[in-house]
C-alpha cells in the first residue's frame, strides 16, 4: 500500500468561529442557537398565520363583516392606545421575526454548503428525509416572494386592479377574479403548507421539546396545523373563482 501524505487528507475546521459576543447574542452565533431563533420566530409566524386565517374566514359572512373586522384591527387597543398603534407593534414584531427567520435560514444554508460541498455520485436512497424537509430551502423563498406580492396586492394596492383603501372585501374579490392570480395564491399556499408540514414538526426538535410520551403527537400536530391553515387559505381564491364569494 502506498503511503499517503497526511497533510493532503488533513482535517481542518470548515467553519470560521466568530469572536464571541456578550450573552445572549452569542447564542445566535452558533447553528444550534440559530435553530432556536428559527423555531421561536417560526412559532410567531404560525401565530400570525392562524389569526390571519381566522380573520379572513369573515369573507364568508359578507362584505360588511370582513370590512368591519379589518377596521377592528386598526382600532385594536382603543381607547388605551392611539388608532393603529397596537397593529403597528404587532407588524414590527412580525417583521423582526421574518427578518431573523430568513437571516438564520440563509446563514445555515451557507454553512451546510461549506460542510457538504460534494454530493454523492451514486443515487441517494433516502429513508426518512421527505420531500418537505428537503425542499425547505425552496418553499421558504417562494413564500417570501409571495408575501411581497401579497402585500403589494392587498395592503398597498399597487398590484390590485381596483384598490380602494378600507374596502377589503372589494379588493379581495377584484384581485381573486383574475384566474392567474387565484392560481398563484393557491400554489403559494401549497408551498407554505409544505414548509409548515416540516417546520411545525421540526421546531419541537430545535427547541428540545422532546418526550417519548408525546413525540408521535408532534407529527400529528404539524399535519393538523397545516391542514387547518392552508385549507381555509386556498378556499378563498377558489370561492371567488367559483362565484361563491363576490
Amino acid at each position: 500500500m502506498a503511503t499517503q501524505s497526511s497533510t493532503e487528507a488533513a482535517v481542518r475546521p470548515v467553519n470560521r468561529r466568530p469572536r464571541p459576543m456578550p450573552w445572549p447574542l452569542n447564542i445566535y452565533q452558533t447553528a444550534v442557537g440559530k435553530k432556536w431563533v428559527m423555531a421561536i420566530t417560526g412559532l410567531m409566524e404560525i401565530g400570525f398565520l392562524v389569526m390571519h386565517m381566522l380573520g379572513n374566514l369573515k369573507i364568508y359572512l359578507g362584505a360588511s363583516a370582513l370590512n368591519h373586522y379589518a377596521e377592528g384591527l386598526r382600532e385594536f387597543g382603543d381607547p388605551f392606545a392611539p388608532r393603529e398603534a397596537v397593529l403597528w407593534i404587532l407588524r414590527i414584531g412580525l417583521l423582526v421575526a421574518v427578518v431573523l427567520h430568513v437571516h438564520a435560514a440563509f446563514s445555515l444554508w451557507r454553512m451546510n454548503r461549506r460542510t457538504h460541498p460534494e454530493s454523492y455520485r451514486s443515487k441517494r436512497d433516502y429513508i426518512a428525509a421527505n420531500w418537505a424537509s428537503r425542499t425547505m430551502r425552496w418553499t421558504g423563498p417562494i413564500v417570501l416572494l409571495f408575501i411581497f406580492y401579497h402585500l403589494s396586492d392587498l395592503t398597498f394596492g399597487g398590484q390590485n386592479p381596483s384598490f380602494q383603501n378600507g374596502e377589503v372585501y372589494h379588493n379581495v374579490v377584484a384581485s381573486f377574479s383574475r384566474p392567474s392570480v387565484a392560481a398563484f395564491y393557491v400554489i403559494a399556499n401549497l408551498a407554505l403548507g409544505v414548509h409548515l408540514f416540516h417546520g411545525a414538526w421540526s421546531m419541537f426538535q430545535s427547541m428540545g421539546i422532546n418526550s417519548p410520551q408525546y413525540n408521535s403527537l408532534r407529527r400529528v400536530f404539524a399535519v393538523l396545523l397545516t391542514i387547518a391553515i392552508i385549507g381555509p387559505n386556498i378556499s378563498f381564491p377558489i370561492a371567488v373563482q367559483l362565484g361563491i364569494v363576490g
Binding site: S5, V11, V14, K34, W36, N112, I127, A128, S133
Partner: protein
Amino acid sequence: MNLTLKVWRQAGPTAPGQFETYEARDISEDMSFLEVLDVVNEDLNDRGIEPIAFEHDCREGICGSCGVMINGQAHGPGFRTATCQLHMRLFKDGDSITVEPWRAASFPLIRDLVVNRSAFDRIIESGGFISVNTGSAVEANMIPIPKVVSDAAMDAAECIGCGACVASCPNGAASLFTAAKMQHLNLLPQGQAERWQRTQSMVETMEDFFGSCTSHGECQFACPKGISIDVIAYMNRDYLKSMSKNRKLGGQGLTT
C-alpha cells in the same frame, strides 16, 4: 450468487476518482459485505490490480471503522447493522451494488473507500474529562441512578463513531454523533460537574467541522446502533441552558 460491484476508486486525496465495475462470483448469502470485498480483492490481487482500500477492524459492529455508502444508504439496506454485519442474503443474484465512500467536507478521502474521520476526535477532545476518583472501581450501587436514566445513557453510549450520521445527512451535520457522545455523560450523575462546559465546547467544536441539523431524521435510520434523534433535542435544550449557566459560572474556566 453472482453480483456486479460498482466501487469508487481513488488513488489519493487529490487524485481524480471514478467508479470501477467488478464482478463478484460465487458469493454465499451467508457472507458479510466486507467478505465480498475480500473476495473481489483476492481476484484483483491475482490479476495484478491494486486491491480496493476499505477500513475494517472488528467485523462485529463495534469498532465503527467499516462504514461505506451502499446503494445510496449508509451501511447499506440492513436494519441497525454496520457494513460488516450486512449479510448478502439481503441481495439477490445478479444485483448491481454501488459502493461509495462517506462524503463530507470534514471527512476528507484518503483512498478509495477510506476517509479521515478524525474531526470526530476533535469533538471528543473538546468534551474534556469527567471528575471521578481514580483507583479501583467504586461499588456499582454506591451512586443511585434510576433505571430509565441509565437505559437512556446506555442507548446514547452505544455510538461507535462510524460517521454514518454525517454521511447520510443532506447537510453533513454531526448532531447525532455529538449529541450521543454528550448525552450519555449529561444524563448521568457522574457527568454533572462538567456538564455545561462540555455541552458548550462540544457544540462549538462540532460546528467548526460540520453542518447544522434540519431534522431530516435520516441519521437515526442510518445509525447502526439505532440512536434516536431524541438525543439531538436534548442537546439543543442543554446547549441553551449551558449558555446561561456558563455565563453565571464564569464559564467554569471555559476557554474557547
